[in-house]
Every structure is written in C-alpha cells, then in structure tokens.
Symmetry: C2
C-alpha cells in the first residue's frame, strides 16, 4: 500500500469529498467518472477527443483483452496505453465480473437485480473452485482458467495504472449462505492477488514531481451482497489489507434504493484515507447519491451504450436523464442536445441533424451522441468536485435532483 490518495476537501453535510489520486500516468481529481473502453477503445470515440472532453482515467476490461487480442500482444506493443494511444491513467478490472456475466449472458443485469440468472442454461460454461474459475470464451467457446495469480499476471501485461483483485460474483439471488461463502473465498483470493503482485509486480516509479507511486496500484474489492453484516465484515477485512484503494463489488441489490443502502452499510467501515470505487455505476442520480455517500470513483459503459442506441443524456430527471434522439419531435429541433453543454456535439450540431443521422442509420450519429454522453458525465463530475471544494455540494445536489440532500450523515 502506498499513500497515493490525498483528500483535499469535504462536504460538511455528507460523506462527499474531493481528492487527488496519484498514478504512474499522472494525477486524477476525484470524485471521478471513468469512461469504459472495454476492448481498448471507448466505443466509436478517439482517445484524443475523450481526453479533450475531460476524461482523466478510463477503464479497460481484462476479460475481453485477454481473449482478444491477448495481453501478450498488447504487452509487445508497449502495453495498453501505447496500444490504444491513451497517454493518461488507465484502470483494468480483474476479469472476474465478465467471466460470470458474459457466460451467463445476463448475470450483469442479474447482479444488479434486474433479472434472474440462468446458469443452468450454460452448465459447462463456467465453474468455480477454491483455486480458480474455469470458463469458456464468449468468442469461440475455447476453455480458459483464471486464478487470482493469472488475473494479476494478465493485468501486469496490460500495464494499467490501477489493477483490481480477482473475485467471484455470486448472483443476487444467491442468498446469505452462498454470498458469505463466496465472500470469504474472494477474501482468500484477494490475499493471493496481493502476494502475487508484491512478488511479481513492477517496481514503483518516481514521478517528475519527485513523489514515488506504484507503477501499478492494486485495489481490493469488498463483497457481501446486500447483507449489512457481510458488507461490514468484508469492508473491515479487505480494508485491513495493504491495498492502494478499495472497490465495492458484488451484488448491489435489486434497485437504486437498495444500492444506496449497500453503499451506506459499507463506506463507514472502509478506511477513510483510501479511494473508494463503486464498480459499474454511472446513472446521473446514482453518481450524485453515491458521491454524497463517500464514493470517489465510478465507471460505467452507459454513456457509449446509450449513445449507440440514440439516447442522449440531458438534464431532466423527469425523463430519467435521457432524450431519445430518434423521437419525431426532434425532427425540426434546432437546439443542441443539451442547452449550455460545452461538448463538441452540442457546440456544433442540432438535434434535428442528429435525429436525421439516426433515422438514416449514419455512423456519425452514434459517435456524436456517445461523445456528448461521455462529456455530460465528465462535466457533471467536474461540477461535483467544484461544488464540494466551494462548500456548495448540497446546492448542486438540489439543483440536479430537485430535492434536498438529506441530513443525518
């Protein structure tokens, strides 16, 4: 564990805080939203425009990159930074999430409580033992084995600034007993990841500022599903290990309010001084609610996924923050996607043009809405940071969500 995180301001009325996270590719201002570049690309966008729109750090998915083009190839080409031309911080996940979610084809939704998993539909696609997860590739059905050590080895090849422990994802409906059993196994795996990383990981690097940071920081993952005692137990256990930061993973419940409860039951038991990453969350209201609850880092595929489906993020809670650009009402709408938005899409193009591009199935439409959506969340987080620093977070919260930030933190 290194001292890579400095808290720079706190909202007195909640757990919200700002900080600076030092990485081998420079500092990251938190709270932060990370665009996701699952397969070494923020879908349809170029790294330079994502950077120019304020992205400080992006996330890559180890599972996908391991299967295609392979971490050895990426390592031969100078690592993920050079391969995809992103000369700024990167975080990779461990592969655990996708091993389960892609094999079951829906466990991702299931983990978030949106629908039941059907592992029985693919009984030979994934198997968990004490030592490893054996799974088949979503690309060609080939058989692969991930151990905690293997996941860290693959992430060493990818070379991200922040890497994550390998974990199992028990489904939401797994129940208390399986969740507890899975959690303690993930704890054992966390210790194995740490040990392997300490032995085989790259040496720390000295920045031009003089400070020394890990070449690859390692974050642990807190489990325990929706059960308060397990979350506390996991937070204390993982928080006591020398991780550079801590993620909240596993099932976050069946709806947003349960997710907020899970965060509430976890954060107070985490070490205050270390950065906290809530995995896979990126809705506008979730970002604000979870910043209030003390989360520093977020990632989600939603801005680019919504972009591909023609849903633009807008500042309208009643529409659940989304504008369907294919809607006929936009046919002659000369306004930008979001009034006041400073992104290249909104500075340049009308809703009418973007509506037309989607109707005509032109690729540029996907690109323009994806860029806007990424910029929208990056700009929101910049506002969040500024508001915390200025002591105005409750004002911003009220402004966006139309309700007061509750007291009693």
């Amino acid at each position: 564990m290194s001292d890579i995180f400095t808290i720079t301001a706190r909202d007195p009325g909640s757990h919200a805080r700002t900080g600076i996270l030092q990485t081998a590719h420079g500092p990251v201002q938190t709270p932060i939203f990370m665009p996701v570049g699952t397969r070494a690309t923020i879908k349809s966008l170029s790294p330079d425009e994502v950077r120019a729109h304020g992205a400080q750090i992006i996330l890559g998915n180890t599972y996908h990159l391991y299967l295609q083009p392979g971490h050895e190839l990426i390592a031969r080409h100078g690592g993920l930074h050079r391969f995809m031309a992103w000369d700024a911080p990167i975080l990779t996940d461990s592969g655990g999430f996708q091993v389960f979610s892609l094999v079951y084809g829906g466990i991702a939704d299931e983990v978030k409580g949106r629908r039941p998993a059907h592992p029985s539909a693919h009984p030979d696609m994934v198997k968990v033992t004490e030592d490893a997860v054996i799974f088949r590739s979503y690309l060609d059905g080939s058989r692969h084995i991930f151990t905690p050590e293997r996941s860290i080895e693959v992430q060493h090849g990818l070379g991200a600034d922040i890497i994550l422990c390998f974990d199992e994802l028990p489904p939401f409906r797994a129940g208390y007993d399986y969740t507890a059993q899975s959690m303690v196994r993930s704890h054992r795996w966390a210790e194995r990841c740490l040990a392997y990383h300490q032995t085989h990981g790259p040496a720390p690097v000295a920045l031009t500022t003089g400070s020394v940071v890990p070449r690859q920081a390692l974050f642990g993952i807190v489990h325990g599903g929706v059960f308060a005692d397990l979350r506390r137990q996991s937070a204390e256990y993982v928080g006591a290990l020398p991780f550079d930061g801590l993620c909240i993973g596993g099932s976050l419940g069946s709806d947003k309010s349960q997710m907020y409860e899970v965060v509430d039951m976890t954060v107070p038991h985490l070490p205050d001084a270390r950065p906290r990453h809530l995995l896979g969350v990126g809705d506008v209201d979730d970002l604000l609610e979870c910043v209030a609850r003390g989360i520093d880092m977020f990632d989600c595929v939603s801005p680019t996924r919504l972009g591909r489906h023609g849903a633009a993020l807008i500042r309208d809670p009643e529409r659940r923050w989304k504008l369907n650009v294919s809607n006929a009402a936009l046919r002659d709408d000369d306004r930008p996607l979001q009034e006041g938005c400073t992104c290249a899409t909104c500075r340049t193009f009308s809703r009418a043009y973007i509506h037309y591009l989607f109707r005509a199935k032109e690729l540029l439409g996907i690109r323009l809405v994806s860029l806007h959506n990424v910029a929208f969340l990056l700009n929101l987080m910049a506002e969040v940071r500024a508001s915390i620093a200025a002591g105005q977070f409750p004002v911003l919260y009220q402004d966006w969500l139309g309700k007061s930030l509750r007291g009693g933190w």
Copy 2:
C-alpha cells in the same frame, strides 16, 4: 457564367494545370479531390477532422437528401452547410445519377462498365420522358418526379456553392443510337436548368476580397458515352452554354483505359478557361492519369467505402493501392498504415491496433481507416498541385506510378 476560375500554372508536358476556383464559401485550389458526404455526412467522420486533414470542398447527393430528410427541412435549418456544420465549399450533384443507379441497384457499376444493368428487374422503378424522370424512393417505394427545374429547385434549397445540371444516364451497353438520343435530351435539360437557375437562383455574393461570385455556381454535364463524335459534340454544345464549369458524366467505358480515352476525346473540346470535373472517379492512378489529361476536380465515395470494409490506401501500385487491415500479417505490425503519412490515424495508431479493431468489429476501426483514406487522397492532390506549380508533375507521376508520363499531348 461568371469568371470564377483562374488558371495559375500549367505542366508544359501534359494538360495538367493548377487553378483557383472562387466560391461563395471561399477559394478552392485545383486539381482537387472532394470527399463525398452522400447523406450530409462524410461517413463516420466529423466535418472538423475532414477539414483539418485538408478537404477544401465536399460533395453532397441531392437524390438522398431530397428523400431524407428533405431539402425543405435542410433549407429551414440554414442549408446544407449549417445543417451538417461544414463551413466551406460544397458541391451537390443533380440527383440524376442516383435516380438511375439506385433504382436499378447496380447501374452505377454498369455505367462504369463493371456489370450489365438489369432494368427489366424493376420495370416500374424508373421512367424517363422528355419532360421528367419518374422514380420510386429506395427508402419506401414512394413515387417521385424530377424535372430539370425540380432538380435545380431542390439544389437551391440545399444551398451548395456549386450545383449540377439534371441529366439522364444511359447505360454503357445502350449503344450509339440511344446514347445520342439521350445526350441531346440531356442538352435540352441543360438549357432548362440554366434558364430556371437564371430566373429563380439566388443573387451573386460579394466576397470580403471584393470579388463577386455566384451564390450557387451551375456546372453543365458532358455526355456521349464512349463515342468520340458524341463526346466532341456534347463538349462543344455544353461548353458553349454559360455554365460556370463543366463535368464529364455518363458512361466512361468498361475499364480504366477506356475511361482515359473518353477523357482524351472530351477535354480538348472543352473551353480551356473553365473548371472540369470528372464525376465519380477517385482511384490513385485515375487521379494522376486524369490530372495529366486536364481534369481539375474529382469526387468519389471510395475512401470511406474502402474504410468501412477495412481497406487502407497505401502507396503500393502492385497491391492496387490497398492494404486489407484484417489480414493476419498485420496482427503484430507496429508500423502505421502508411509510413510517412501525416494523418491523425497514422500519427497515432499502429496497424496491429487497427487490425485488432476490425477483428473485434469495433466502430473506431472504420473511422480510423476512413480518415486515413480521405487524408491520403487529399495529400496526394496537394502533392499534385505542388508538383505542377514547381514544374515537377512528370517526376511525381513517375514516382507514384513507376512509369514515365507519355509525351505527345
């Protein structure tokens, strides 16, 4: 007719020449290649990056834009320039080419001699009379009528800097008699286009330089298929009308050598002082061969079409200027698509990365190769212009094509 074209240099050994074409949106240096934005977008690319990579003028297709989103809608949104955010010269075609090529689903290839048309397969899809072309939409089968006047009216709505006369496209296999008959009808239509434009067209505009140029310049189109006497007759007829420039349209023969013959039999009969646009041509060798033959303007969808199919333009005549980026040989190739290319793709990404993007079916791959291909042809034309101005065009020709520019022009 206005004096919008100034010849600035000539290659003494061929018909190659440089010039400046004045438009309402600024000057265009010729010889020029125009990227094609068929449906108000250079497919997958943003207008600012196309502009930044040297595009001076782009082409839009009246047929597509008339059907979707409609020229009235585009006019309401400030014309095509503002609608698609391209604040530089635009040329629109008349719709004639696509009325025929899209209806027959292959007449475009057929006109270029690549395969026979099968109009009998769609007997009710297009009908030509003395007055008009009646056709059905490729989108929904709805019935539409284009007259010469209607084409110009639609192009007035789109608002391009250069617009084209409406013409019929007889198929390559039409034979002498039909080609001659069609040609004289296109001549009559050319006069109707001129008359309508003179009466209903926008007033000329004064540039900040003080010179006055047409708000919309009108170009005529020379027909006559592969028949030397018809080409001469058409060149002289259309060249005698007060058009601002002249296009070579219709069937250009069954192969490249026949296309060069068609250009050879046409150009000497065109007025020297007016710009000449060879419609729909954009292969590397064709650009060089036809610049030598006195062509000033080219357009082609090939850079973006090739880009979508993963073919990158490279400086290798033996590979017919194309590199298949999906080829397994590129898997570990750390070089740019083209050594020495200054485009953003080649400055930033390796062949290995682009190969991977295409294998993974990631949208960014299409974008990166399309941008490279557009830049490749724009850079070639910049080299062509510089070489003519420096008296070095034969050197450039030899350098690219590996053979001497023939004498005896």
